[in-house]
Amino acid sequence: MSKQKPIIRLEGLEKRFPNPEGGGDTQIFGDVWFDIHEGEFVCLIGHSGCGKTTLLNILAGLDRPSDGVLLVGDQEVTGPSLDRAVIFQSHALMPWMTTLGNIDFAVASRWPSMTRVQRAAHCQSFINLVHLTGSENKKPSQLSGGMKQRVGIARALAIEPRIMLMDEPFSALDALTRGALQEELLSIVAERQQTSFMITHDIDEAILLADRIVLMTNGPEARVCEIVENTLPKTRKRADMHTHPNYYPMRNHLIEFLVNRSKNFKAEIASAGYDPRRPPIARPAASGPAPIPEKVAS
């Protein structure tokens, strides 16, 4: 992928929680090393309980790692920042604010010196971007689940963050709405070259959106098992993605991981030379390993 300097680097992140019955801490995950580059879309897949949300909270600065360092640019993350916008799983809109109010709250926090008129224009452009024109003055309770999450996306994009962090943003939506939103998110992110990191457990979502997919094994003591580079062309669409020859190799590789390898990873480490700092990279493709994804015919 990109050869430039990564904007986010996870260096040996570890999270431990005190054992409820006492007797030492339980490690949720450890030795997590990977990078996120400018303009890249990275997904992290894993079963529930592997600490995905905890990892995202650490990236957001809402939680601190027990060990290891998280760098954004060259700065160690010590708390939340407007550089990193978060789209929460449960949309997390303020129910007493309108669509516009929710986005404006974020914009006013980002640029306190902006005038009301400037803010209104700025918010409106993002409301239009997520196709919510006409719903500016509706409260979240008047919006459908998909529309609420669109507001969440607009709120995150409106502060023009360096990186957008998403915690299973579409998992509460029905399949049709989810598909439509994934497609829209993909085009918005591609157009704006928005660096993004998303937690998911939906394989198709990961194949559609991600340039690289980080596979996390089951917790406790979860590890990054492997990083899968998406061998489908960047122009992939939800509608025709499954017709591409590399789709099933990708999909099967990810399913194989979720079903079998995520459980038996400890044995896999023991047998091969596993270096947590450089997790193995996989490029599942139709015939043999694809050299680089861009060269695969679409």
């Binding site: 600065g61 939340p80 997390a92 007493w96």
Partner: protein, 281 residues
């Protein structure tokens, strides 16, 4: 679900029917109580009240109705310390309740914020709150009169002390149960603490706080009548006590009616206020 027009009409009709039945039963009871007049000295008869004249001790609905009408037609007359219009008496009571209640809100809401946001403050203050909350407000009265000396201020103090607990408990509960995710949104947006308190925590907790205020004003209005009976001078509580001393049961019954109406209006005002801050999640 808001009721349909037809349901509303039915409810109003039922209310009116209940009122008519109640007034009728009252009227029949008063009639049944009437007996022959006893021969006695005129002054003694005046002291003994209507029973001496063979009338019922309980005034008839019509007596009470005309008394209420009399109060309503001239609510603000002032003919000396023992004879003031019901409007003036109610105004005194309402002013005391609002002063005590307002002061309690000024203390309870910020303190409730503190307790709700800090589990240490919550643990530290909980024993005090649990100990003081169940004390009848009137139990504070002698202490208030002894230390403050002024009867007016004492009754305001009693209102203050009884209004503070529901507001304090509800504010701290409302603040403590603000959703973590809303606070996380504010944190990721680097919103300064004061702005988070005003724009996120306050509106999130407002419905719970308003419920506490509504409970408080109800209690305050209950307590003011008793406090004014003890303290005397002015107010609707004193008015009831004065009417009782005059053996004017009609006056007492009409005062009960006015107390009920004002209490209802106070509750209604806070219900409106809470519907303004309510949000649907």
């Amino acid at each position: 679900m808001s009721p349909t027009l037809q349901e509303k009409i039915k409810a109003v009709a039922l209310s009116l029917a209940l009122l008519i039945v109640f007034v009728l039963a009252w009227h029949l009871y008063v009639q049944a109580q009437q007996g022959p007049a006893v021969e006695m000295d005129e002054e003694l008869a005046a002291l003994l009240g209507p029973q001496a004249k063979g009338e019922s001790a309980l005034p008839s609905p019509w007596d009470v109705g005309s008394e209420i009408w009399g109060h309503l037609s001239d609510p603000f007359y002032d003919a000396g310390p023992n004879d003031k219009g019901i409007g003036i008496q109610l105004a005194y009571s309402i002013a005391r309740v609002l002063t005590g209640f307002g002061l309690a809100a000024l203390v309870a809401i910020p303190l409730g914020f503190l307790i709700g946001m800090s589990s240490i403050a919550q643990r530290a203050l909980d024993p005090f709150i649990q100990l003081l909350k169940p004390v009848s407000p009137l139990a504070w009265m002698p202490l208030a009169l002894y230390t403050i000396k002024d009867s007016e201020t004492s009754s305001i103090f009693v209102i203050f002390i009884c209004s503070i607990w529901p507001m304090l408990i509800n504010t701290s509960f409302g603040v403590a149960s603000v959703r973590r995710e809303w606070l996380n949104v504010a944190r990721t947006l680097e919103v300064p603490p004061l702005r988070t308190a005003l724009r996120v925590i306050l509106p999130a907790a407002a419905p719970t706080i308003l419920t506490g205020m509504r409970i408080s004003i109800g209690i305050a209005w209950l307590v003011i009548v008793a406090a004014e009976m003890l303290v005397g001078g002015t107010g609707i509580g004193y008015f009831v006590w004065n009417e009782w001393n005059n053996l004017s049961i009609t006056g007492v019954v009409s005062a009960i009616f006015f107390i009920g109406v004002v209490g209802m209006l106070l509750d209604f005002a806070l219900a409106r206020a809470s519907s303004l801050v309510a949000y649907e999640d």
